[in-house]
Amino acid sequence: MLAMLFRRLGLGAITVWLVSVIIFLGVEMLPGDACTAFLEREAKGKLLENCREDLGLNRPALMRYTEWAKGAVQGDLGVSAKGQKPISELVGYRLRNTLLLASGAILAGIPLALFLGVVSALWRDRPVDIVVSTLAIFAMTIPEFVSATLLILVFSVWLGWVPGIVLTPANAPLVEFFPEVLLPITVLTLVMTAHILRTVRSSVIEALASDYAQMARLKGVPYWQMVFRHVLPNALLPAINVIALTIAWLLGGVVVIETVFNYPGLGRMMIDSISDRDLPVTQAIALIIATVYVGVNLAADILTLLANPRLRTMHIRKG
């Protein structure tokens, strides 16, 4: 079991390392570098050489990679080409703001999805299920920017309850993001809930039809006890992985949402850095997102392993 855990952790670390190599190579292959971007038209002759000298860009790629990686492990992501500031400092608040957005969506979305999924499975093909399932399909198929725009139209333009865009600066205290942050959270929650709900619904239906659920009923177990003791623990196992995938998707989803709402988070910073060709920042954010992605999936795997007795005991027996 412990060996298994270490193996998974090791694999996770290797994945992050490979991603970092790919990101670095990708940026390497792009024409131009931080200096050409920074100097723009003056990027020639002595000026360019000096700049490269300053930033250390004229050294071999391997050396630069090692240095970058070493820094990244210690939390130093390099220096932004644009403002010549340490990236860690720039990223800090942005990361916090994105986490506010994501955790809001996760805290609202997961319980809601589990609840609605279970309810629509237990009342399968009844009005509740039909309404919930139909709404879920809408939420899944309408692109985030469309639903975002619709929500802005209804809640800020027509009703005037919340501002449609966020004007709070990135480094403001968290409370100042309320109530503006509620709209983007709602949009993310909608899509997230729909995905998780559908998986939960189908796996609960499957578990309800299982032999062990039938056996529990024939053993005289009351309906609700059967649902909570026999069906749900088994049905919710597959949900763990879908939740992890959805959270990972969320990190990509925020890029669009933050742009629509002008929200000062990691996603918008990434878009800005790309349009500014601020390559060190792009590199750093890509690495952060990849790490979170790997981390979330790793956590889901471990959780599944702990929650599923079949997997949990397998390694003890074989070992």
Partner: protein
């Protein structure tokens, strides 16, 4: 012996019950039709029939339970006077699992995977026991020892998947006993278990029913099991009771054509003939028409049979039979008459296995890189067998004995650890299927256990059969179609099946397609992996006939793997008995099934059940499942009832040859 007309003391009473579902056209299609049946106190009654006969539906209906989509059309079931279908939910819940308990077919899937065994049995106690809850822990242990599980204290802590099939079944029985039931419903409780395990479970059930005075309703397709545990039998056909009577009345001289056909289609150890196939198939729900449901398959049917439905009428013998022509049923024979007999076998070798050893354990990448030696004992070892052209070799043994593993290696699906597989006495075949030449591939074909999984559901039967024809013979156009139709005729399906999809076929028809596909390659050797075990007995008998026909026509050799010793006896020229991947005995069929045999063969044969009320199995060894073969000595040392001493544990048993070609590996000198 309880009599069917006994008026008092009935525990479960089914009164003119009909159950159906709404079909696509909107009509109600009946699954059960006018069932009336009484189960008396302490009596055990068997419900027998082929798949789709409604026997499980009837058993569940006795608990007031219907599967989704089914509904009661008329009639009711009462348990001790309480009408089950007009009960409130709470009242039903207090009866179910308490005074009336079910033992399900597949305990492995019927135990909740995320709950420990102890917790599941305690749950039943909490629901139904009047005792204080502090006593439950001890009671669980008591129940588990009552079903003869070794080391109950450790079983309590385990999860269902950590137990063997037999152990899971015992847990299910313990759980049913928790509510101290007056009646037990058993839905195919031993299907899927090894013969020895099945025999042990049946003995346990017999003893429990006797000691506790429980009534039992035993649902099974296996007349052997029914004969062992039941007093009375109801034979079901197309949702009706066709025949009902005492075990002796039904199994010795059944007064219904279907029951006679069913009995004749069962392979029996005492019978050297192939069982007699029962042609045709039962009507679909709602398709029975006005007359007798069995009319289309009946040998003695007359005009009246297709116009009026016979009643379940009391016969002079005391049995009740639903037949217009009870006086003529004796014309229908009760056994087969086709002897596999001695065929002239050529001396040409079709297949030989030399010192074959197979292991599933693959050294891990990590183990390889640190140079770790593989110390595990191979799954299969020391297999030396030569098979002549046209000969059929039966491989028998319990699950885990390596029967299917050997087939996979012959087919090239699982490379052996060492040893070689040779065809036609030539050079050894490459161990991996992808390295074998086209002709080598063509010569060896395999038929799998489950045709649902071995036939591509998206291809028509024509496309499935065309593949080997195109691949090996390059047929196309008209020639291809003609050959495909010829193949379908050979397996007695007919050319009109060519455009159908597997899902439109019954299980037996699908397996015929699988046979046709194997024979399309014109093989010398066909590997049959439990190919009849998923089929009903009457269909199985037809399949055995077909295999016999084909080998006579084509002079094909078979390696026939089965856990059913009677089936193997009916078809094989020679039989090899395997335990834990080691040969115990090999020889001509009559010798292996004869007087001199390996102790393990005796154990297996002793556990076989015959559809005969006077037959008693001999249980001489425990049914403990061993996970790995012992590192040295005789593979059967731990379970052998005739163990002679430490020599069995340390020295590999010597080969003894009581007759020419009959080999037994055992330390006992006087076999």
């Amino acid at each position: 012996m309880t009599h069917s007309t006994m008026p008092t003391g009935s525990v479960i009473s089914v009164d003119n019950l009909s159950i159906g579902f709404r079909g696509k056209a909107g009509h109600m299609l009946p699954v059960l039709r006018n069932i009336s049946l009484d189960v008396h106190q302490g009596e055990s009654i068997g419900l027998v029939g082929e798949s789709g006969s409604g026997k499980s539906t009837l058993a569940l209906a006795m608990m007031g339970y219907l599967k989704t989509g089914l509904r009661v059309l008329n009639g009711d079931v009462s348990f001790e006077g309480q009408k089950m279908f007009s009960q409130r939910r709470a009242a039903l819940e207090s009866i179910r699992g308490g005074r009336l308990a079910l033992i399900p077919q597949n305990s492995g899937q019927s135990l909740t995977p995320t709950l420990r065994i102890g917790a599941q049995i305690q749950e039943a106690l909490k629901l139904h026991s009047a005792q204080p809850s502090e006593t439950f822990g001890a009671r669980v242990i008591e129940l588990l020892s009552q079903v003869r599980l070794p080391d109950p204290a450790s079983i309590v802590e385990r999860f269902p998947h950590e137990l063997s099939g037999g152990q899971q079944q015992r847990v299910a029985i313990a759980m049913a006993l928790a509510g101290e039931p007056e009646a037990l419903l058993l839905d195919e409780p031993t299907t899927g278990l090894d013969v020895t395990t099945q025999a042990h479970i049946l003995e346990l059930l017999r003893d429990l029913a006797r000691d506790m005075g429980m009534a039992m309703v035993y649902v099974s397709h296996d007349l052997g099991a029914i004969a062992r545990v039941c007093d009375r039998v109801a034979v079901m056909y197309a949702g009706e009771v066709a025949l009902e009577g005492s075990v002796r009345q039904v199994l010795r001289d059944p007064s219904h054509p279907y029951a006679r056909g069913l009995l004749a289609s069962i392979p029996k150890l005492s019978d050297i003939c192939l069982p007699r196939a029962l042609d045709g198939r039962p009507p679909a729900p709602g398709g029975a028409g006005q007359g007798c449901a069995f009319v289309s398959r009946c040998a003695i049917a007359s005009d009246v049979c297709s116009t009026s439905r016979p009643d379940l009428a009391l016969q002079p013998s005391g049995a009740r039979s639903r037949c217009h022509h009870v006086d003529k049923v004796h014309e229908i024979p009760l056994s087969g008459d086709r002897e596999v007999g001695k065929r002239a076998l050529s001396d040409e070798t079709s297949l030989s296995l030399k010192d074959l050893a197979i292991s599933y354990a693959r050294p891990s990448l990590w183990g390889k890189s640190v140079g770790r030696e593989d110390t595990s004992v191979p799954t299969v070892e020391g297999i030396n067998v030569a098979l002549r052209r046209g000969e059929t070799l039966g491989l028998v043994g319990e699950s885990g004995s390596g029967k299917s593993t050997i087939l996979k290696t012959i087919a090239g699906l699982l490379p052996p650890l060492s040893g070689e597989v040779t065809a036609h006495g030539g050079a050894p075949l490459p161990s991996k299927v992808e390295k074998r030449a086209s002709t080598e591939l063509r010569q060896i074909q395999m038929i799998f256990q489950n045709p649902d999984e071995s036939l591509n559901p998206r291809q028509t039967i024509g496309q499935i059969l065309a593949q080997p024809l195109i691949l090996y013979f390059g047929l196309s156009g008209q020639a291809l179609t003609e050959k495909t139709i010829l193949l379908l005729d050979q397996v007695r399906l007919g050319g009109h099946y060519i455009d159908r999809l597997p899902s439109q076929l019954s299980g037996g028809e699908k397996q015929r397609v699988a046979v046709a596909r194997a024979f399309a390659a014109e093989p010398d050797l066909v590997l049959c992996d439990e190919i009849t075990s998923a089929l009903d007995v009457s269909v199985q008998a037809a399949m055995l006939e077909l295999l016999d026909d084909l080998r006579r026509q084509k002079n094909t050799s078979y390696v026939f793997v089965s856990h059913d010793l009677a089936v193997v006896r009916a078809l094989s020229d020679r039989v090899a008995v395997l335990y834990q991947g080691r040969l115990c005995e090999i020889g001509p069929t009559h010798a292996v099934y004869g007087a001199k045999s390996h102790p393990y063969t005796e154990v297996l044969l002793g556990a076989v059940l015959e559809p005969d009320p006077d037959f008693t199995p001999e249980l001489s060894a425990s049914d403990v499942v061993e996970l790995a073969p012992p590192a040295m000595g005789c593979p059967f040392q731990r379970r052998c009832p005739k163990r002679i001493g430490s020599i069995c544990d340390t020295v590999a048993p010597p080969l003894r040859e009581p007759d020419y070609g009959h080999k037994i590996w055992c330390h006992i000198e006087e076999i």
